[in-house]
Amino acid sequence: MNGNNPPRVAIVDYQAGNLYSVEHACRCAGMEPWVTSDPKSLSGVAGVILPGVGAFGDAMRALRDSGLADALIDFSHSGRPLIGICLGMQLLLGESHEFGRHRGLELIEGEVRRLQISTTNRAARVPHVGWSRIYPATRGSQLVDWAATPLNGIEPGQSMYFVHSYVVCPAQRDLVVAESVHGDTVFCSALRRKNVWAFQFHPEKSGPRGIQLYRNIAGLFQADTSMPLAGESRDGSPRRELRHAA
């Protein structure tokens, strides 16, 4: 932490889940968290965390009905960091197949699919609940360097805590930052697209290593507050562009 004020971070509240832990992890990591369900409030913060526990369809409905969906899309175009965690990661994708077909926020091209496990190994049940290791994704013949990411300082192979039945499948493989294995399936456990970062595991539930990740996120928020906030206008044109492209 440099001597600046703690970065102000909005934790998006859409009535589904564990915000208290996210809030306390933020505080523990030197951030000033603010739990909010007001779409207008996102404009004045250094970063936004979209957490989530629950079902995709209900969550998207809640985000749309409250106006938060549009606010999140606008925020993502501001260039400031947007962090999705667990269901919050999945909501960033184009669509999900959980309990029917649902459109997501479409910030990242791709879809959310049920974890498919072909082995009958009892340790490979769905939902995937528990501690699994995270590894750097491969990009060509090289491993993604975590040093430039919020995973900086975390050992490859460190265990993190997962609770999910679905996984994200981004259309662009080079967005994948970390991968994990459940049964015989390799899935994306962290991804990045520009200023949007997302983690399938719960860093706020992953013990001291998870808190370290939050500290790195705090650093990211702090760095980015000094950046020019490109494209902050709320005319929605970048979103339209994205929709056309999809």
Binding site: V53, G54, W131, H164
Partner: protein, 286 residues
Amino acid sequence: MSVRVIPRLDIKGPNLVKGVHMEGLRVLGKPEQFARHYYESGADELLYMDVVASLYGRNSLLDLIERTAREVFIPLTVGGGIRSVADIRRVLRAGADKVAINTEAVRRPEFICEAAHVFGSSTIVVSIEAIRQSDGRYLAYTDCGREWTGLDAVDWAVKAAELGAGELLVSSVDRDGTGKGFDVELTRQIARLVSVPVIASGGAGQLEHVCEVVDRGSADAVGLASLLHYDFVRSGAPSGHATTPKTQEGNLEFVRRQTAWSAIRSVPLAEVKQCLWNSGVDCRLN
């Protein structure tokens, strides 16, 4: 995937308690201190069970959950007196990650389905309290093994998983607190029939019991109480401050005299992990 070691904290009012066969509760100390100690020792999750909530029809754990979530960054499952979607929402908003449901799931099985639909299956743990009968069958109970549900525990486990339970917490009431070892057969029968994770609970009295229920019982996680609690009380809190209960109510005999059942050879949590690891079980070492 790693086998999880989950300290189970039975809570009555402001105190951590432990009984035998879920009865005759003795006061062991303040739950927060145990929770923090287990977090620092490498626990994979914590389980809070409000052991009187079903009797009073309410959940008195919210303050404790909030205090715990401020300093403990591992998953927390909360059970006891959860009867509605609104109850679940309250507990999750206080900082819990999952809820364990027994009585209401038995009374109204469609509640499992409802809850799973709103919060996702992974948030819903169905808690099954089983008692082994003389003919070898297992029957399911509620209210700490006091009320028979009319259900066969193994059949009920299968149905609960079908209805959307994300995990099953399978507790043996007749082994609880005795230190005689888990009911491996109960765990095995359920684990081989369901596709969701099974947390075995009740009876661990020594390290070998933990390895046994993972190896032969196919448990995905173990719930431990006496095995860990008595060690922590005896060794005192890490900084030397006593785990003095907040009130003088309840049976304080154990805390005063520090005598556990001789059947329980309590150990620190790290030794449980090391023992599992040494026997070839994948678990998370700090």
